[in-house]
Amino acid sequence: MEWDAPALVLSAHAHGEGGAVAHVLTAEHGAFRGLVRGGAGRKDAATWQAGNMVSARWFARLPEQLGTLSAELVHPSAARIMAHRLPLALLSAACALADAALPEREPHPRVFDGLLALLTLLSVDPSEGARRGPAAFLRWEALVLSDLGYGLDLSGCAVTGQTTGLRWVSPRTGRAVSDEAAGPWRDRLLPLPPLFLDPSEDGTPSQWRDGLRLTGAFLQRDLFGQRHRPLPAARSRLHDLLDAAPAEGGSGTSA
């Protein structure tokens, strides 16, 4: 059994002296692991950095085997944004989330396309990535939830049915709630930043923090909690980085 496909590197850890076990995401085949001969060695380690886009080849004698991966670097996302704090934190968090959350060998082409678009945004122009990346990351997290069957329902207010003025999300049902319907229950609801409703909205640091809390609550409860695992540490570090950012509109995290 074998396949050739464009892939995004999610993680790679050393195996033996020069080898590595890499985890890649493809549109057609989903998340796949494989042994990379020499993957942790001087020559190939740069290829297997998280976030890189590669042209991958996987083969094994039997489908249930770990298999062997080889790849040629197509786009070095990781190298392009290493000097940029916030894009790097977003890349790490996205790859760590996909690495931990996606089921093995189950195609999720929308998640792949979303991650590819996010990594392209972050790495082609890192300063633009620092400005627009957090909102794109949060929308991609919502897409991951949706693709895995735990999507938020932001189409209308769960109480009144109205489609405007949506400001909150019920932490129990994942459905949007309008400001007027929230009433006295407001402090029990999760704030819904406008960037989830409007794809052209880039958001502000405080909205990014609200967005992380919103998707984080459902990722924790529905995806990671069920497996008794915490959210990825890289996502927590992104949270810390955004917590240190100024309240509105600043770019203190982009250096």
Partner: protein, 197 residues
């Protein structure tokens, strides 16, 4: 093959980096053929090292003294500390003789995959050295990997309150390297880190 002692020797040698069972057998055979000149001096050196070498409580280096010979060298510039991931990196910089300041061995980099968090890094002694004063620059000489860069950003934030200059080692074209054989990532990093000629 030759008794449990030889088997045990081969087994222990084969666990060392760069040695597999076959090369461990060759190494064992070489040692056993010349016990007086190779085996016993090696065993003695290993025993002495095992008894005397320890981790420096200031910088994390390995030495038979604590503080280590680098930390106590008066000829070094104590106002510059170079932070490295492991002792192997410290040795590489010492071999090149390019840094005449002090070091700090972090003991790893932040890695979600390997489960290494901030609490697992050897950070407290570095912060204590900065609190003592007299340090004007900290050089972050960490690997050009996602984990290394993430750790460098995180560390730069932690060091900011001390008011020291935080610098990083450059990335780019290696000495003797032709551009057409460099990987795309190194080329991209080199071009982005270009400077006025």
């Amino acid at each position: 093959m030759g008794g449990p002692e030889i088997e045990r020797l081969i087994e222990l040698l084969s666990r060392l980096p760069g040695l597999g069972p076959r090369s461990a057998r060759r190494a064992a055979l070489t040692l056993l053929r010349q016990p007086q000149t190779r085996l016993l001096p090696l065993a003695d050196a290993m025993q002495r090292a095992g008894q005397s070498v320890r981790t420096c409580s200031r910088c994390g280096n390995l030495d038979s003294r604590d503080p280590c010979s680098i930390c106590t060298d008066d000829h070094r510039d104590g106002s510059v500390i170079c932070v490295v991931e492991g002792v192997g990196d410290l040795w590489a910089l010492e071999r090149a003789a390019v840094h005449r300041g002090l070091y700090h061995v972090l003991g790893g980099t932040l890695s979600a995959l390997a489960g290494i968090g901030p609490e697992d890094l050897n950070l407290r002694p570095l912060l204590s050295r900065l609190e003592e004063g007299g340090v004007r620059e900290v050089i972050l000489a960490l690997g050009a990997t996602v984990d290394g860069a993430t750790t460098a950003h995180w560390l730069a934030d932690r060091l900011q309150p001390f008011g020291v200059t935080v610098s990083r080692v450059a990335q780019g074209v290696p000495m003797g390297g032709a551009l057409d054989v460099l990987d795309d990532g190194t080329l991209a990093a080199a071009l982005m880190a270009r400077r006025a000629g």
